[in-house]
């Protein structure tokens, strides 16, 4: 016959709660949560932005140029008024949020992509 004292119950409860919290955290940390937007210029990583930190960020480009991106609600996009290339493909690409998606600016040799884990919807895109 075991007798549980208050202290024992407290420990049991604490351990259970810890286990449950651990479990929930684990299952939430998937897909877009906590993912990073990586910005590379001419093959060099110049910036990584946390997708859950909303804000407007400036990216320095070659030849003293720059452009700005916006991060909001786990999406990132290039702000049209901040780019001066002819076709503005980077702007037309729109918002990206998932691993495998990229925003490419060929004239400025700049790419923005979402860094993610292997369990994504698509791993890359053929175009």
């Amino acid at each position: 016959m075991i007798t549980l004292k208050k202290g024992d119950l407290l420990i049991i409860l604490l351990l259970l709660v810890a286990g449950i919290v651990w479990f929930i955290q684990d299952s939430l940390r998937s897909d877009t949560e906590g993912s990073l937007a990586v910005i590379e210029v001419e093959g060099k990583r110049v910036q990584t932005l946390s997708m859950d930190e909303n804000g407007r960020y400036k990216i320095n480009l070659p030849n003293d140029k720059s452009m700005e991106v916006m991060v909001e609600n786990n999406e990132i996009w290039v702000l049209e008024e901040t780019v001066d290339c002819p076709q503005k493909i980077c702007v037309r690409t729109g918002k990206i949020s998932k691993p495998g998606e990229t925003i490419v600016c060929l004239p400025n040799k700049t790419v923005i992509y979402i860094e993610g884990f292997a369990n994504t919807n698509v791993d890359d895109i053929s175009f």
Binding site: I2, L4, G19, R92, V104, L106, D123, D124, S126
Partner: protein, 363 residues
């Protein structure tokens, strides 16, 4: 639950605590196993800009020596230097070939010769719909540059006779080549990136990498599968939507996937779209019911050349060619959003993800 029910376990308080620790960790460790396992695989991605394209290498192996990325980029740069006709470099072999058109044979490296041979082969099996001597016409259109404009029709007619892959003479023994008429020009734009992807894969495989995706300007080449054994999932760009929006998902295992489409590179003039897939017979962008063709093969050089070839051949003749070639599959998308697939494509490796598109079984 009453504490009495725990009596049968005959646990002392310490035993009980251990039981709970064990139980809690079981919940954490087991249930979200799928998430945990794949979460541990965080691929490493590196990018660069070579051959006028984004080059994106994603490796899923653990503990890789990252110097391999630079070796890949340097190799692709070396290939660009040999094959480009857009900038003069000391290594430029195709520029030398073009400059000697109508005059001399030019000695070439083994790989340049190999690509020219492949180019001629695709010319032959498509009755000239694919033609690597399209250079003079491509120069007139300037598509993909800021100077893109509709050329003068007279000029196109003048240059068309210079487009003929049969007038590219190849000397197999001595690895020499010659364009038989002055003004002829080889342009490897529809095949060189595929070759570069194959070469990139060789370097990665030699470095012991078993799971990777090479993306060369939208041309995909996969090495192996994902580390957990599942196939890579590749999105097919929706021809009618912005970049990154897919209309289908294709699963690949050690294969290449290359798409050609009217949406890719184009300019607008007089309210009409002019895309970059030029018919060597007319000198104008091809007009048929297709908006995109995606090819799956083992080697990327084949998928690259075939995506252009098959697009130019059109749905029926293109499908006939694909069905004749071994280990070759294709997905055709028409302007009416109908999707046709070759006989080796089944629901295990292909699924539409946009309801606007309709899979047609047979024509």
């Amino acid at each position: 639950m009453s504490w009495n029910s725990l009596k049968f376990l005959k646990l002392k308080p310490f035993g009980l605590i251990f039981f709970i620790i064990f139980f809690s960790s079981m919940i954490s460790a087991c249930s979200p196993l799928s998430i945990r396992e794949s979460k541990e695989i965080k691929p490493v991605t590196k990018t660069n800009f070579i051959m006028g394209s984004l080059v994106k290498i994603t490796v899923y192996d653990e503990d890789i020596d990252e110097s391999v990325f630079n070796r890949v980029f340097n190799r692709i740069q070396e290939i660009e230097n040999k094959m480009t006709i857009n900038k003069v470099t000391p290594q430029g072999e195709i520029i030398r070939l073009n400059n000697s058109a109508g005059h001399d044979f030019v000695e070439l490296s083994g790989e340049t010769f190999f690509i020219l041979e492949k180019g001629k082969y695709y010319g032959e099996i498509t009755q000239g719909k694919f033609d690597i001597t399209i250079g003079p016409i491509v120069k007139l259109w300037n598509i993909d540059t800021e100077n893109a404009a509709i050329p003068d029709g007279e000029e196109i007619i003048q240059k068309l006779p210079l487009v003929d892959y049969r007038k590219l003479e190849l000397d197999q023994e001595q690895k020499k080549a010659k364009l038989s008429e002055e003004g002829m020009m080889v342009d490897l734009g529809a095949i060189a990136k595929g070759y570069a992807a194959d070469e990139a894969a060789k370097i990665l495989i030699d470095a012991g990498i078993k799971h990777a995706i090479i993306n060369l300007g939208g041309n995909i080449l996969t090495i192996g599968s994902k580390p957990d054994g599942s196939l890579f999932r590749l999105g097919l760009q929706d021809p009618f939507q912005e970049r990154n929006i897919n209309m289908a998902v294709v699963r690949l295992n050690n294969q290449s996937l290359v798409s050609s489409g009217t949406y890719e590179k184009f300019f607008e003039a007089n309210g009409k779209k002019y895309h970059h897939i030029i018919d060597p017979k007319t000198g104008y962008p091809v007009e048929n019911e297709l908006v995109s063709v995606s090819i799956i093969t083992e080697k990327s050089i084949d998928a690259d050349a075939l995506s252009t070839s098959v697009f130019l051949l059109g749905l029926e003749k293109g499908m006939d060619l694909v069905e004749k070639l071994p280990n070759t599959e294709a997905v055709f998308v028409t302007s009416a959003k109908k999707v046709f697939v070759s006989s080796g494509i089944n629901k295990d490796i292909f699924e539409l993800v946009n309801e606007d598109y309709q899979l047609e079984l047979k024509r």
